[in-house]
Amino acid sequence: MTMPARDRSTSRPQLLKVASQQRVMIALALLILFGALRYDNFLGSFNVFSVMRYNSMFALTSLGMCFVIMTGGIDLSVGTTAALASVVSALLSPYGLVPGLCGGLLAGVVVGTVNGLLVTRVGIQPFIATLSGMLMASGSGLLLARNQSVSVSYDTSFTELGQGDLSGLPVPAWIAIFAYLAGSILLNYTAFGRNVLAVGGNEEAARLMGLPVARTKFLAYLQSGVLASLAGVILAAQFGAGQPAEGVGWELFSIAAVVVGGTLLTGGIGSVVTTLAGVLLLGLIFNVLNFENGMGWISLSAYWQSVIRGVFLMIVVMAGSGKKWAVFRRSLAH
């Protein structure tokens, strides 16, 4: 998985970052504008709320993934961590909101710790380390739930975490907004954020400068586990059940969202805000498809959404740099 190291002059990544950030924001704005002009209820509160409620889970896993990728790693375990956390929190939901939430988060802390230790202490490549973390989390979730979904108690306020509204916005949306604010501050204004980018940019140089490389990476996997488990708690609260078999493919969807958001998989460059834009773009494609079907002009099955998402990811990757566009145009001309 070692990628060929590219020579990075200081100015080019910076330019690239700005260019791709603008691109994803413009694309998102255009998609929203398109939807707002074409469909009546696109910006209606019902649609906006349901999009927010559902995509908040992916927003959280993608935020965690974003930090891990910025250190030059990857976390394949986010989906099954969410599944495990949904089971744990559902099992604890009869005791109330706080025990359910804390139990779920604890599951994320455990998985994140295992991943972090495997990567930093044992020295296993992130891909394999988190693949084994993924299997262990999935197995634990299925074991705890006895291979079935676990109903959430409706006697306590636990379900508010997924279904409730607060000051005019869904609770999951508040959680996601808060997480992204914290993530943005963490990345841009703290030593941890600078360490994350330094470690991902050039690990050896970061080590030689005396930065705490191992600790930074460990914390990255830990926060990814915690955010994924938060997504799992929301999953349980929103759908009224802890679902041990859910979360399949979430990790790759999150990676796609991060990539669409302009964060480089080689690490060292990234942005929290555009990751959220990436999540919303991929989520809104499905939403727009539904509306378009409702118009009656076309009738594309829901299966088209994966095709469209894939093509979209392809275009984003191709647009990664102006030079590559030139290559593409030349390849078309031939």
Partner: protein, 328 residues
């Protein structure tokens, strides 16, 4: 994703270790077999061998292609989706009016076209990655997402149930009592091992993975080689897709090959092929897949639930890779 390689640990391990390393996987398999002989009831039976070999065959078939991709320093996340495409195409062909009117030709096309299509998608992966300098993990993520969608759109998400003995030879047939897919598996493993040792392409694959820049400077057509390995990986996934649908007598685009990319990567990792590229242990991959399969069988046969077996599987994958890195 570059992980600093630990500095040589020769001080702790004797110099013969690098030469013994390929046998470590074999030793682990033998230990597992010995454990089963001692503990698992009715382990020595034709049926045990049969069950394990038929189950492992599809994973090994996919893993052979994955080994070559990883040997170039890449990765292929799209194999499961390509299996779904191939598995969806085959019944569409032999159940079509044309296929029903010409049964022999229909079956022949149903065996050839899906594999060719999967190989073509594999070529697309290679083209995309080399043409735009995309990282393999992102480049193949495109078809991971879109590929299953294509299979679902082709079948409209419907389950295709069929009974076609001449097509299903690939999953249910036997030659001298050996299942056909096991024979295919062994042929592919042998062919890949031979190719890596004896052919120019094999040498060039290892050269690209070992040091891409050096390979390019010494005249290796790096982009061509990479397109080849992704095409081969798609080809293998296509065959595996046919095997899976013929075993099931049905094709479900939502399920065929789901999660296969990670199973295959795990088999390659346990088999001792390093993710940095430059080395390929095809026989090791076969042994790695057998270890993972036998481990699961051992646990299930001794009353451990499948969910607990998953936890053990995760731990064993980490353990195997850790021990290999120590030896390196």
């Amino acid at each position: 994703m570059s992980e600093a390689q630990p500095i040589a640990t020769n001080a702790r391990l004797p110099a013969v270790w690098p030469r013994l390393r390929p046998f470590a996987t074999l030793a682990a398999l033998l230990v597992l077999l010995a454990f089963n002989l001692a503990v698992t009831p009715n382990f020595v039976s034709w049926q045990t061998l049969n069950v394990n070999m038929t189950q492992v065959a599809t994973i090994v078939i996919v893993s052979v292609g994955m080994t070559l991709v990883i040997a170039t320093g890449g990765i292929d996340l799209s194999v499961g989706s390509l299996m779904a495409i191939s598995g969806a195409l085959a019944p569409l062909i032999f159940l079509s009016p044309f296929g029903l009117a010409h049964p022999a030709l229909g079956v022949a096309l149903a065996l050839v076209v899906p594999v060719a299509a999967a190989a073509a998608f594999g070529f697309f992966n290679g083209w995309f990655i080399t043409r735009f300098g995309v990282q393999p993990i992102v480049g193949t993520l495109v078809l991971f997402i879109a590929g299953r969608g294509i299979a679902q759109v082709m079948t409209n998400g419907n389950l295709q149930v069929f009974k076609n003995p001449s097509f299903q030879v690939i999953g249910l047939g036997r030659v001298f009592g050996v299942p056909v897919q096991v024979i295919i598996m062994l042929i592919l493993v042998a062919a890949a091992a031979w190719m890596l040792r004896r052919t120019l392409l094999g040498r060039q694959i290892l050269a690209v993975g070992g040091n891409e820049r050096a390979a390019r400077l010494s005249g290796v057509p790096v982009a061509v080689i990479k397109r080849w390995v992704y095409t081969i990986s798609g080809f293998c996934a296509g065959i595996a897709g046919l095997v899976v649908v013929s075993i099931n007598s049905s094709s479900d685009a939502n399920l065929v090959g789901l999660g296969m990319e990670l199973d295959a990567i795990a088999a390659v990792a346990v088999g001792g092929t390093p993710f940095a590229g430059g080395q390929a242990m095809v026989v090791g991959t076969l042994l790695g897949a057998l270890i993972i399969q036998l481990l699961r069988y051992t646990l299930l046969a001794n009353g451990v639930p499948d969910s607990a077996a998953l936890i053990v599987k995760g731990a064993v994958i980490a353990l195997a890779v850790w021990s290999q890195q120590r030896g390196r």
